[in-house]
Structures are given as C-alpha cells and as structure tokens.
C-alpha cells in the first residue's frame, strides 16, 4: 500500500492532499498544468520536502513530519521517470539502465546482466551501446522506463509519460505503456494533463485542481459520475448542475440549470441533481430540427478538434447556452459544412441525459 498525506506551500500555491493506492495498481492524477502534479511526484520521491504530512510505502515510512522522519530520495524505493526522461548524456544506454544497481553497490557484471535483461524485455537491446543523444523520443522513453524499473522500486512515478513525444509516436507508446503498467508488481502513479491518457492508464483516477484532489475513484465511476464541471470538461463530457422542477408522467424530468431548462430521464429523485450528456448523444443540424426532441439549442461553433485515437470523430465545441460539446463523424462535419463561427442547432433526447445526485 502507498499512503500519503502531503502539504506544501510555495508562494501563493498550496498543495494539500491525501492519496492511497496499492501494488499492481495504476493511479492517474490528472489536472491542468500548474495544478501541482509534478510537485506531488517530487514530494513522494523525496526530491522536495513537504511542510507537513506523512508518506508510507509498503509499511515503510519515508516521511513523517510529526515524527521527524524524512528519508532522502536515494533511500526511498521510488522510481521516477520525469517528463523529459533526464537520461545521463555521458553514459551509454546500458550504463544508464545499470546505473541504479551500480549506485546501490551491485557488481559491474551483475548490473550489466540485469540491465541487458531489462533492455531485452523492452525490446531495445540493440540500443545498448548508444548514447541517449542518438535516440528518438520513443526510444529514450523506453530507456528511462527500463532505468527506473531495474532497481525494482516499490512505487513507480511517471510524469507526463507522453508529453515529450510527437503525436504519431504517442499513439504507439500509449499502448505500450499501458501493457507495461498492467504487468508491474509495484504501485504506479502517473500524472498527466490528458484525460485520454488518464482513462487509458488509470485503474483509478484522481483529479487535481489547484493543489487539491477534487475527485478520486475507479475509472469507470469517474467516467459515469463526474462531480464537477471541471472533471466533466477534463473527460470531455457535458455536465450540468440543476434542480428538478417538474416530473412528467412519461418518465421525463425537467431540470432548471443556471443556463436554462433541460429535459432528462427521470432520476426518481427531487432536488439538486447532476445531468450528464455524452457528446455522442448530441446531434447537430443546420436547420431547426422537426420532431419531438425536447432539448434543442442554437449557437455558433466555437472549436473543431479531431478526436484521437479513433481519428474519424470530431469534437465540436458549441457556444450555446448552456455550452455543449458534441462528438460527430468527420463525414457529418463535411456534410453540415461546419467550421468555426457557423451557427447550428444541437439536439439531444431526454433519454440521452443521465441525471444523478
């Protein structure tokens, strides 16, 4: 088990959170840049000292402000792969990977054997004698992963594992990392700004906003029940908060939100509810749609963004009230003649809206 409570103040910024995760589990901490993700990892690794709190990994206390315990980074069994990998430029790939074992006193030959084994496993054995400067981004990342894993850490920390890669490589590496993480014995914490990476890597996801965790839970739970507009935006889902004002006998509830009235499948509860509309539930029209849809909104296209990894989908952000994000095929984008500034009608069925408390 990894248990950490951490507080750290730096100027105006304050990080204050508690988290818990287990072996063979990947916890993804997702949040915007400046939310404190890298700081969190540095505090866990022992590269920075928290003002207060406690860090415990597999029963070993790394930090305890109250007890005056603060193990230096090199005495913690924590592996860190930083955003830009920080491979030692003066050492070969093999020497880089063997570094941890050598530092901890392993013999040259034993360290070399273990390093070669790890390189083999990550299928980069042919790079062993190169220097990091001669490697591509994807190769550097594998070396960095091998280097962090060879000393057998209890806790592996990955800082934005895909940020330094070009989009093409990213797709491939995303799958590789996911496979690697699923085989690891240790606990893993990944921080990222990308909701997509969070959902791909994370068994559990924690959302960090301005130094605090605003929602923590299993991935599916988070996807199904986001509890703040920020989380919803992060995950690319439409989320509204409102109050049930009227329930129709037909199983339709009318919910008053800050931006207007929405019709939703009746949650069977009264009072304040969250409303969740998946972007794929939203259909776009250039003319006002005829028919029975209760939720029809009108507004300009604010942004068009192709949605990886499917590639064929396009996310359309709309300046409607309330603002909506729709996900439609690129064929539809073409046939509707969508581009930024074009006015469209957006509609979704009441049964496409999930309401929950």
């Amino acid at each position: 088990m990894v248990r950490a409570t951490l507080a750290k103040r730096r100027g105006d910024f304050r990080l204050d959170l508690a988290l818990e995760t287990a072996e063979r589990t990947t916890l993804v901490v997702v949040g915007e840049s400046g939310a404190g993700k890298t700081t969190l990892l540095r505090l866990l690794a022992g590269l920075e000292m928290p003002d207060s709190g406690r860090v415990e990994v597999n029963g070993r206390v790394y930090f305890d402000a109250a007890a005056g315990i603060n193990l230096p980074a090199w005495e913690r069994e924590v592996g860190l792969v930083s955003q830009d990998y920080a491979l030692f430029p003066h050492l070969t790939v093999r020497e880089n990977v063997a570094f941890g074992l050598r530092a901890q006193g392993a013999g040259r030959r034993a360290a070399r054997a273990r390093a070669d084994e790890a390189l083999e496993r990550l299928r980069i054995a042919d790079l062993a004698d190169r220097h990091p400067g001669a490697l591509s981004g994807g190769q550097q990342q594998r070396v960095a992963l091998a280097r962090a894993l060879v000393p057998r850490p209890r806790l592996l920390l990955l800082d934005e594992p895909l940020a330094a890669l070009d989009p093409g490589t990213r797709l491939m590496v995303r799958g590789e990392i996911r496979a690697l993480l699923s085989r690891l014995e240790c606990a893993t914490i990944v921080v990222t700004h990308s909701p997509l990476d969070a959902t791909v890597f994370g068994d559990a996801i924690a959302v960090i906003e301005r130094g605090a965790l605003t929602q923590v839970g299993p991935r599916d739970d988070l996807l199904r029940h986001p509890r703040s507009p920020y989380v919803a935006t992060l995950l690319g889902i439409n989320l509204f908060q409102g109050r049930v004002v009227r329930s129709d006998p037909g199983g339709i509830a009318h919910v008053q939100t800050a931006d207007g009235l929405l019709a939703a499948a009746d949650p069977g509860v009264d009072g304040d509810v969250f409303l969740l509309v998946h972007p794929q539930e939203i259909t776009l029209y250039s003319e006002r749609p005829a028919g029975s849809a209760l939720n029809v909104f009108h507004g300009p296209v604010v942004e068009l963004a192709p949605e990886p990894p499917a590639g064929n989908l396009v996310r359309v952000a709309l300046g409607t009230s309330p603002p909506l994000v729709a996900e439609i095929t690129s064929q539809s984008v073409a046939s509707l003649g969508l581009r930024e500034g074009v006015s469209v009608y957006a509609s979704f069925k009441a049964t496409g809206v999930r309401a929950y408390r």
Partner: protein, 247 residues
C-alpha cells in the same frame, strides 16, 4: 614578440640547458604540478559545496576563497609568512612536530596553491552549477547517494569546466612570483622557480632571463590554446555520437 627577437634560437637553446636554468625549470614544473593537484583535491569538494550547498555565510566564504585572486601576491605571501612562520599561528603548531615551512620547497607549493585556488574553485563551481538538476535528481531516485552522484554524474558532466579551471590554476601557479619570493625566498635549487630566475637573471644575465621568459610564454600559450580547443570538444563529441556511433 620582442622576447623572441632578442635571442637567436641557438643561443636560446644553449641558455636553456644551462644547469641553473634547468634546475629552475624543473622546480617550477614539479611544484606547480603538485600545487595544481592539491588545489584540485581540496577545491573539488569546496566547489561542490558552493554549487549545491545551502548554508549561512556561503557568500562570505565564497568571497574569502576568491580573495587571493585580487590580493597583491606579495600581500598573500606576507600573510602566509605570518601564518606559517615560526611565530605564526599555524607555524607554531607545526614547529612542535619539527616542521618548518617558510623558505622550503613545500612553501613554494603552498604559495602557488594559495594564489591558484580561486581560479580553480570558481571555474569548477560554475561548472557544477551548470549541470542540470534533473540529472542529479534522476541519480537520487535511482538510489545514488551524494558521493556516487558526484563521481558518476556531476563530475563527468562538469569535466570540461573542471579541467579548464585546473589548467588556469596550473598556469597561475607556474607564473607565481610575489607570494613565492615573500614566503619561500629565492634559494636556487630549493625555492627559485622560473619566474624568480627570470627576475634574478635580469640583474645578472639578461640572455638567460629572456630565454626563460620565452619558455614561460610558450608554455602559457600552449596551455591557453589547448584550453580553447578543449572547450569546443564537448560539442564536437555530441555531434559525432550520432546514430552511426556503434562502438
């Protein structure tokens, strides 16, 4: 230039192999080499501390170490003499063990080391500061303590600056005059280094003085020129260790 014009090459050679000149030359090379080694051994930890440590009075300490750079060497020599002389603070302590420093070859080394230290320490400190903290951080998370990180990461990455500092310190030690003559005197064979021999030669044998000066000139030029080449070396190496570099 005027030094070169002064003496014809053959004459120059004859003066150089004269026993007195040879003795001074040998003494200079040996003492300055030892002084440089000592400066490196002591200066590396100090530079490391200056570059990475955070403690009270660091600025004052840095200034103190830099002081010999701006101090007139004669003042440095006088200071050393007062400290290590028989009546000096350190001298009295050493005297108990029957060790007397002033006017010995060891005093030459000490004087040279004293004036050369700041050149090495400031270059090495700058070199260590330039090493990106992410490398030392990475080493720490891989389980490397400060000592191992220093030897395997910090020192290799700062090596160009460290060597440049050592070369400058060596050049400074080789040219040392003021502190040496104050603290070690001018005894041929024991403390009369090349610069001192030049000074004495000026009064007795101008040709020899010129010959010795030419040596110092050539040596200093070679050292500085080599430094310039070495400074470009890292960049060159990075380029050549491209994809084709499979050793």
């Amino acid at each position: 230039m005027s030094l070169f014009v002064r003496v014809p090459p053959r004459e120059l050679w004859a003066r150089l192999v004269a026993p007195a000149a040879l003795t001074a030359l040998k003494l200079s090379v040996v003492t300055s080499a030892i002084a440089t080694a000592a400066v490196m051994a002591l200066g590396l930890p100090v530079a490391h501390l200056f570059a990475t440590g955070r403690f009270r009075g660091k600025r004052a300490l840095e200034t103190l170490v830099e002081l010999p750079m701006v101090l007139p060497p004669t003042v440095a020599g006088l200071g050393l003499l007062l400290a290590f002389g028989r009546e000096g603070l350190v001298g009295r302590a050493l005297d108990v063990f029957g060790v007397t420093l002033p006017f010995t070859t060891a005093a030459v080394v000490l004087a040279q080391a004293f004036v050369a230290t700041p050149f090495f320490v400031s270059a090495a400190t700058a070199g260590f500061r330039e090493v990106d903290a992410r490398y030392t951080d990475a080493a720490a998370t891989l389980g490397a303590g400060p000592g191992y990180t220093f030897r395997r990461v910090l020192l290799p990455l700062a090596l160009p600056s460290v060597l440049a500092g050592a070369a400058t310190a060596w050049a400074r030690a080789l040219g040392e005059f003021g502190a040496t003559i104050m603290f070690a005197g001018n005894l041929p064979g024991t403390t009369q280094t090349l610069p001192l021999a030049v000074y004495i030669g000026l009064q007795t044998d101008l040709q020899t003085a010129v010959a010795l000066s030419v040596i110092l000139l050539i040596f200093s030029f070679t050292l500085l020129f080599g430094l310039r080449l070495a400074h470009r070396a890292p960049r060159v190496r990075r380029v050549t260790s491209g994809p084709g570099d499979a050793r």
